[in-house]
Symmetry: C2
Subunit: 317 residues, 2 copies
């Protein structure tokens, strides 16, 4: 009997996705950061739908500050909306809590959720509550993009230049509870039409770049010297290098995007005029489908490390 | 320190709801079966948003058939859409599963979910998966109603006649896994404009009628002889009467609605022409805000029993 931990998340989702009903108004279903649906023939917008869980012992530790838990719950779906260039509109929250949970703790969680949602113009309009053994929030969000403008992860072509915002790695040191969803940057990228493909880095650059190349039918070469390793990753003292942390830790919630090579210089200049946030040129898409390599000076080796795997138990951070 | 189990679900939701941000395009937020949002000035439809959890040990037993679990997860949100007269469109599913869950079990769950969704024309377009200690599904659904036509639970007036579809009580004997969401009936009620108020009976008639009267600012008198007690409730052999089961068991997922008295005869005739499903006239709304009475022949006593309370632990059925 095959168990979930033997096949992993991506294979599980592929098996389940094949069972599910669709409709003609579904522009993009399972397999991207958000689903995209279209409500009318003459509508100016497409609608983005996304849900994400945060679970005690998986996405946050028992002693995490309540406000940070709520902030992360809302931040995760905002990051997914940002990854397709979306404007956040409305959210629902399903709360699961043990009956002996202090009401004040839940109020703190909802204050954190409310604060980040409000800052990005998103209303929280409902949800449901239930008792359960573990404290959990499941946030469901609706956003929108100008019709036909959602940026998929599947649009990259060989030759496109790869960029990532911010810095990567070591998020377990605290950043996984305090990240800024890149709503403003994602909306700008969508409106200006720079990116051929975009996604958020939630399970580590190694895993998420594999997903983008698989969806786009490309390969990629990463330039080791260009990967923006965070100070937190450099501080990690364990058996893994800071580069490995940057490639595999996950929960960076930065944007990974591909830009056509002929636009790269103009894009970089436009980015610098618009944002102080770093956007690093980290590599290039190639024709060698499914092959991801790390280029370090003159040597070029296959990327072997993997990011976060949801159904393989590891120490909680 | 106040804990959730001391204040209960309704008070918890009131406390949390006050913290949350809204937007101008939110027609109805927390406090009804679904949230109602409006996307454009000239849109022909309003949009309904709803999320519901099903959790092992709370909403289903460990040995429940996989297909029935998925069916219930989708059925719960469909019932909420039906309660406002909505047409189902798209859903997302968040899955939480222990890593040793057999993949076949999850496929069975998703087949059950897919089958019911498909029958009601609803696509399942995404979601997320995570490991956790307990098997859970959180379903988020989007539906629509003609603009301004969503039936709230707050619209009832003194004198309106109360109806409930189907039969009540004893759902723990199996019906809680096999109920039919009243999509067709809810859509018909919405399109024809019969109901001033409507909701689904998910926590028991006693609790849900209290919610409807509180939202509408009315009281109610229930006619004991008219309450449609299910055969399953009559079969229950415990300290509670079959009437108490019908009032308090919960998970009936029938529609509770109020119709103006002057339309009652015409409504009943139209219902009989359209459906074979029973729709029982069970009482009337009164002016005595918050007072719910049970009328049994000539005697009239206050309704004391209560329905399902989410944060008070009881034996799982």
């Amino acid at each position: 009997m095959t168990r979930v931990q033997q096949i992993g998340e991506d294979a599980l989702i592929r098996r389940l996705a094949g069972l599910l009903p669709s409709r003609q108004d579904v522009v993009a279903g399972i397999g991207d950061d958000c689903a995209v649906v279209r409500t009318g023939r003459h509508d100016a917008f497409d609608w983005l739908l996304k849900s994400d869980p945060v679970i005690e012992g998986v996405h946050f530790a028992r002693d995490a500050a309540p406000g940070a838990i709520g902030r992360k719950a809302v931040g995760r779906v905002l990051s997914d909306l940002a990854a397709m260039g979306g404007e956040p509109l409305w959210a629902l929250i399903n709360l699961v809590a043990p009956p002996d949970t202090p009401v004040k703790r839940l109020e703190g969680i909802y204050r954190g959720a409310a604060s980040l949602a409000k800052r990005h113009g998103m209303a929280i309009v409902g949800g449901d509550t239930s008792r359960g053994k573990t404290l959990e929030l499941h946030v469901f969000a609706v956003g929108r993009v100008p019709r036909g403008c959602a940026v998929p992860r599947s649009g990259a072509r060989a030759g496109d230049v790869l960029y990532v915002t911010g810095v990567l790695g070591g998020s377990g040191e605290g950043r996984h509870l305090k990240f800024e969803p890149r709503i403003k940057e994602g909306g700008w990228l969508c409106a200006q039409g720079w990116a051929t493909a975009m996604m958020d880095v939630s399970d580590g650059l190694a895993t998420d770049l594999r997903r983008m190349t698989a969806a786009s039918g490309t390969g990629a070469v990463l330039d080791v010297a260009a990967i923006p390793v965070s100070a937190a990753a450099r501080r990690c003292r364990d058996t893994r290098s800071s580069l490995e942390h940057a490639l595999a830790d996950g929960e960076d919630f930065e944007l990974l995007l591909a830009v056509p090579a002929r636009k790269a210089v103009a894009f970089e200049a436009a980015w610098r005029r618009s944002f102080t946030l770093r956007c690093s040129r980290i590599g290039v898409m190639t024709k060698r489908s499914g092959v991801i390599e790390l280029k370090d000076g003159k040597s070029c080796v296959p990327l072997t490390c993997r990011g976060y795997e949801h159904f393989v138990t590891r120490a909680d951070s």
